[in-house]
């Protein structure tokens, strides 16, 4: 039912790749790409958010609020626009 929501904002059509924003809370996936500036990518990497990492989405806040994910057994909150640039493959179990 919410397929349109998931499709919108996803950059790739291969596999089941979605962004952190369109991913459902509780869903697990593997980060395939972090788009955006090098500086942001470095800050994200320092918090464990980088390519090939297995993550679980915890929640997203209403009104374009931050997305909270679980990575390396700890939680990280990521601003909406940054989260929209992080691509996750959710087909892996």
């Amino acid at each position: 039912m919410f397929g349109w929501l998931r499709r919108r904002g996803s950059f790739s059509t291969e596999g089941d790749v979605v962004t952190l924003v369109t991913m459902n809370p509780g869903q697990v996936g593997i980060i395939v790409d972090v788009r955006g500036g090098r500086r942001m990518a470095e800050r994200l990497a320092a918090l464990g958010v980088r390519k090939d990492k297995r993550i679980k989405k915890v929640s997203s806040m209403i009104l374009r609020g931050p997305v909270t994910i679980e990575v390396d057994r700890s939680q990280v909150a990521i601003g909406f626009h940054t989260a929209a640039r992080i691509l996750v493959d959710v087909s892996v179990k």
């Binding site: 809370p25 500086r39 942001m40 470095e42 800050r43 994200l44 990497a45 320092a46 918090l47 464990g48 980088r50 915890v58 929640s59 997203s60 806040m61 209403i62 009104l63 374009r64 609020g65 931050p66 909270t68 390396d72 057994r73 700890s74 939680q75 990280v76 909150a77 990521i78 601003g79 909406f80 626009h81 940054t82």
Partner: protein
């Protein structure tokens, strides 16, 4: 040195005995602190620095940490042992820079109940430097850490690229760490709930209401059960006696005892050094300082504040800030000085300016709040709510205006959300004591000086001229009596004294509300002003002061028209 929120400050306190603030959220420490410790026979200097994930700083606090790095002979790299992978990146960066390192694997006790096992011997081999497991909050492993300091070495690490370093981190973690599966704990389930929109919102509302109720209950209880009775039975007779000795009049009487109306020395209105000078700071303000910092300290140590930042992030973006700016804002409800300092956790200059200006204008410190509750509250709590409501509105509207007017955009929120921890009583009370002592040491002297200066200037008649000059603005625009101009000026020294000064003027409830709001907004106290000057520079402080003046007079005039 180490990642944020790994317990560096706790380790530092254990090593040196110097108490520094520590809490359960990243960015508690925004400045460095020096201390001394004994290593064998020698005395060594220890520096506590803010946390940083890498040696490439992203905010002022991290810059402080990286700058201090050049000063050290040995770096104690404090590592969260429950999150080796993330922490080792910085460790390797340090080692590649050929800095002698000892690694403290802190929060070691947590690895056990989190199902993590780390092969210490192997980790030592991989890194080539001493690795000591510690539990800083209980002091475990600190002795071993000190003993290991002389063994600090640079290891054998070549410069790596970022990718190579992450690969190396991955290799080390995989070879030393085994993680066994375990179930979600209650803390983790609660943690998930507090960042979900609906549950989180309800919880936040509950937490805020409960906190305010608790602050009020504790503060009022201390006042009516401890401070008031003590003042009346122990101190009041002394004041009365001194008043009698001085014959009830004269210059010295005016300074020490102040005004006597109908034979009664009112603890607030008399304004003598021995009467109001003792009663207002100790019996009116101190109880609220204690209760506010007790509640704040508990919230800090439980680790709730970053969740609040997540919940409020989208709203704060409208003010040109991101959610984490809620931390300086909340600190400002205690005292604006540490709040302005805490803006160092924000990434851009623009954000720091907006956050600091909003704190200085619309966030009343605990001292001012105590007097607002004490004096304005006499007319009914409706009026106290008007004061708070107005300031909240000012905070929102002014934030939106600043956001529109200033060039640039606000960076996005990116924070680590700490695990909830059960607050330990000893650290909570130690932190409370440190803050209360700060108030007694730094605020109390200013308090006395302010009262003394007011009395002397009154006697010299200096205020009459001033009141005449400023009267048009104060009476016409704000609807306050001309004498109130003195209070507004004194507000530069201490806002609690300033509001107290208005007590004998027999103002109406509306006038009190206007005076309280204008006082809160008008100008920061001298201590806050000094910190703003240091943190923002002369130009931005002047800009900020201009915003204060304009907004205070505007809001005061509007209130005057409405009330």
């Amino acid at each position: 040195m180490g990642n944020p929120n790994v317990g560096k400050s706790v380790v530092f306190s254990r090593l040196t005995g110097v108490r520094v603030m520590s809490s359960n959220y990243p960015g508690t420490t925004v400045n460095y602190t020096e201390g001394r410790m004994k290593v064998g026979e020698e005395e060594a200097q220890v520096i506590d620095v803010p946390g940083s994930y890498t040696l490439d700083p992203t905010c002022e606090a991290e810059e402080v940490a990286v700058r201090m790095l050049d000063l050290g002979d040995v770096v104690i790299n404090v590592v969260d042992s429950t999150n080796l992978e993330r922490n080792l990146f910085l460790t390797l960066q340090l080692l590649e820079r050929k800095i002698p390192v000892v690694v403290a694997l802190n929060m070691w006790d947590d690895t056990i109940h989190r199902g993590i096992s780390i092969d210490l011997e192997k980790l030592h081999e991989e890194l080539g430097v001493p690795v000591i497991p510690t539990v800083a909050v209980s002091g475990q492993g600190i002795k071993e850490l000190v003993e290991a300091l002389p063994n600090a070495v640079v290891g054998n690490h070549q410069e790596r690229t970022r990718e190579e370093r992450w690969a190396a981190v991955g290799h080390v973690t995989d070879s030393v760490q085994i993680i066994s599966h375990r179930h979600h704990t209650w803390a983790e389930r609660l943690s998930d709930a507090t960042v979900k929109p609906v549950q989180g919102g309800v919880i936040a509302l509950g937490v805020l209401v409960l906190s305010f109720a608790a602050i009020r209950l504790i503060g009022e209880s201390i006042i009516s059960w401890v401070m008031d009775p003590m003042y009346e039975t122990l101190w009041m007779p002394v004041v009365q006696h001194v008043s009698d000795l001085l014959g009830g009049e004269g210059v010295l009487h005016a300074v020490l005892i102040g005004r006597v109306s109908d034979g009664v020395i009112d603890p607030v209105e008399s304004f003598g050094l021995l009467s109001s000078g003792v009663y207002v700071p100790l019996a009116m303000v101190l109880p609220y300082i204690v209760s506010f910092y007790l509640v704040l300290g508990l919230m800090e140590d439980i680790g709730y504040l970053p969740r609040l930042a997540v919940l409020l992030d989208s709203a704060m973006h409208r003010l040109g800030l991101h959610g984490y700016a809620i931390i300086p804002t909340l600190l400002g409800l205690g005292c604006n000085v540490p709040a302005v300092l805490a803006t160092r956790i924000l990434e851009s200059r623009r954000e720091r300016f907006i956050a600091a200006t909003l704190v200085a204008i619309a966030v009343p410190c605990a001292s001012l709040q105590a007097v607002v509750v004490g004096l304005v509250g006499n007319f009914g709590y409706r009026y106290v709510f008007i004061v708070y409501g107005t300031l909240l509105l000012v905070w929102l509207i002014l934030g939106m205006i600043l956001n529109r007017m200033m060039k640039g955009f606000s960076p996005e929120l990116l924070i680590e959300i700490p695990r909830y921890r059960w607050p330990l009583l000893e650290p909570v009370f130690a932190k409370l004591w440190a803050r209360v002592r700060g108030f007694l040491r730094e605020a109390l002297p200013v308090f006395f000086v302010a009262i003394l200066a007011i009395n002397l200037l009154y006697l010299a008649g200096a205020f009459d001229e001033l009141a005449r000059v400023a009267a048009p603005v104060v009476t016409q625009l704000l609807g306050l009596p001309a004498e109130a101009v003195v209070a507004l000026l004194v507000g530069f020294l201490r806002k609690d004294v300033a509001l107290g000064l208005l007590a004998p003027l027999a103002l109406t409830a509306g006038q009190y509300v206007i005076a309280a709001v204008v006082l809160a907004m008008f100008f920061p106290c001298v201590a806050t002003f000094a910190v703003m000057f240091r943190e923002l520079g002369a130009k931005d402080t002047a800009k900020s002061a201009g915003v204060m003046l304009v907004s205070a007079l505007t809001v005061g005039a509007i209130l005057n028209a409405i009330l």
